[in-house]
Symmetry: C2
């Protein structure tokens, strides 16, 4: 997803600068932690949150260096929550990359997440205006809240689409919304533009989570990946399963008996993948509408392009 962004030199340079700031900000007298976090940063990531923050900032006039620090802060918060989430999920792989907890141990993962979260605050606190700091901390709470909702809802066969969306809104969309918003705010966009970009991020975030959950079932792997099997065992049921179960409750039997190949076929036959993809596309449409009113600058084109890429990726499931 978002493949074509990788070939944009300007964007790549900006992201490299953000990564530099991240690496600077995980420097610590505790070399061990510094090394682990530096390694995590080097091991990459899509850097969507900083990217969108910087693109959002293009709508305003005040391009200060603090934009890059805020962008780095967004990615660091994201990394911190990933580290803590992986402790809960007992994940050993995150889309092919070894997770912090399996690399360094669960114990270290707790501290590393705490350390990184604290460094993000420390960094943002100096660079962002006071009201925004409060908002950042409110969003942090949404992130935890979303994870807790998800954890509470394990094994819930009656989980509804709106419950799923509520989880996605909190655990994923909130940070995208904040990233879009902060870029606009720091670069001093007018309030209406800040809000429209915030909503763009929110809608993007929901469809991003839907796509993410779809990709876990990706047909590129001959059988379901180990992590998704573990997720299912742990009771994390995502949108394709929720849609499919409405149509065909037999999927619960397949889950119970760990018949994962059949499960995948069953979800497909019951339209689970297609319906999830369609809902994802609807959220992308909402994001598109928010952007429609904004000035036609280059950054807007790039964001629209990213939305189109997402749409293409979703359509592979429909």
């Amino acid at each position: 997803m978002l493949e074509n962004l990788k070939n944009n030199d300007t964007i790549n340079r900006k992201i490299q600068f953000v990564e530099k700031i991240m690496i600077k900000n995980v420097k610590s007298r505790h070399k061990n932690v510094q090394d682990m976090l530096t390694e995590m940063i080097h091991s990459g990531g899509k850097r969507l949150r900083p990217l969108f923050l910087l693109l959002s900032a293009e709508f305003g006039q005040n391009k200060t260096e603090s934009l890059y620090e805020a962008a780095a802060g967004m990615e660091m918060i994201h990394m911190a929550t990933l580290i803590h989430d992986d402790i809960i999920d007992e994940a050993s792989l995150r889309r092919g990359t070894v997770t912090a907890q399996s690399r360094f141990g669960k114990d270290y993962a707790v501290f590393m997440g705490d350390f990184l979260m604290n460094r993000s605050y420390l960094m943002l606190n100096g660079k962002v205006l006071a009201p925004e700091v409060r908002q950042i901390q409110h969003i942090m709470e949404c992130l935890f809240y979303g994870e807790m909702l998800q954890y509470n809802g394990r094994f819930d066969r009656k989980k509804t689409v709106s419950q799923y969306i509520r989880i996605a809104a909190n655990k994923t969309a909130s940070l995208f919304a904040l990233s879009f918003f902060l870029g606009a705010k720091i670069s001093e966009c007018e309030e209406s533009i800040c809000k429209a970009l915030k909503r763009t991020g929110y809608y993007f975030g929901i469809s991003f989570q839907i796509l993410d959950d779809l990709l876990d079932f990706s047909s590129r792997e001959s059988d379901l990946g180990k992590n998704i099997q573990k997720d299912i065992h742990m009771g994390f049921y995502t949108l394709p399963m929720i849609f499919a179960a409405k149509q065909n409750p037999e999927i619960w039997g397949l889950i119970q008996d760990s018949r994962f190949d059949e499960l995948q076929q069953c979800i497909r036959a019951a339209g689970g993948f297609r319906k999830a993809a369609e809902l994802g596309e609807q959220y992308l449409e909402k994001a598109n509408s928010e952007l429609a009113e904004l000035p036609d600058i280059e950054a807007k084109k790039i964001i629209l392009h990213a939305l189109q890429d997402m749409k293409n990726a979703l359509q592979e499931f429909s």
Copy 2:
């Protein structure tokens, strides 16, 4: 320890007010989390950090309500770190009380710690001056760093007294130092008084950790408590053992063979408890010296009383 503080009505009223603020500040739309944290608050604690913050504030003139919020914030940070530490220690009991992780599960404990840490920031951010917020976050890092040092040093039979002190300084003394400091700072004490109180808190914190580690071996229980056995199994060697091992390396054999009763006797015979207690007393002396220069107000008498209580508790081991 600090038994006589419990009978001070003024102090009790103040601490009840702090607890009220804590309870107000864990209110959440996520009722589950709110209930768990409220229960944790109700289940008590010595509240030393808020207490010392408020006592410190008596040296200044500016007694605002924000003192109580800062006091509540200190205790909430403390609780958050306890929750996360218990995940690492796999502790099921914390001095007789069931820990968050065994009560609610490891997964919840990660979120609850994150949530509480975030709420502490949120609360302190509005109430404390900007430079102090940075200092709070620096101290947070000391707390993680201390825990990491401790974790790194597991099974290290060559652990020195100064390594132990370094861990205690970071994981414990730093937050006491901050509590003393913030009280003085918010109530607008002069810089020299702020610094003297900060050092008082630091020295108190070190001796507090030493006493805490001694109490784990407390003779009130006929055999070593399960948690200390687990700690030893997990490789957490504390000051009495470090001193004893210098004198008699046989203790490593006793540890390896899980002969805990003999271990305790061996530590005693090798002077491990006594030497640890003496070092604790030395730090109390330093705290006393810092206070000597300060005005003789009622709060100072209470702090001195607390130091005397600590000294008595330590002397039971010497």
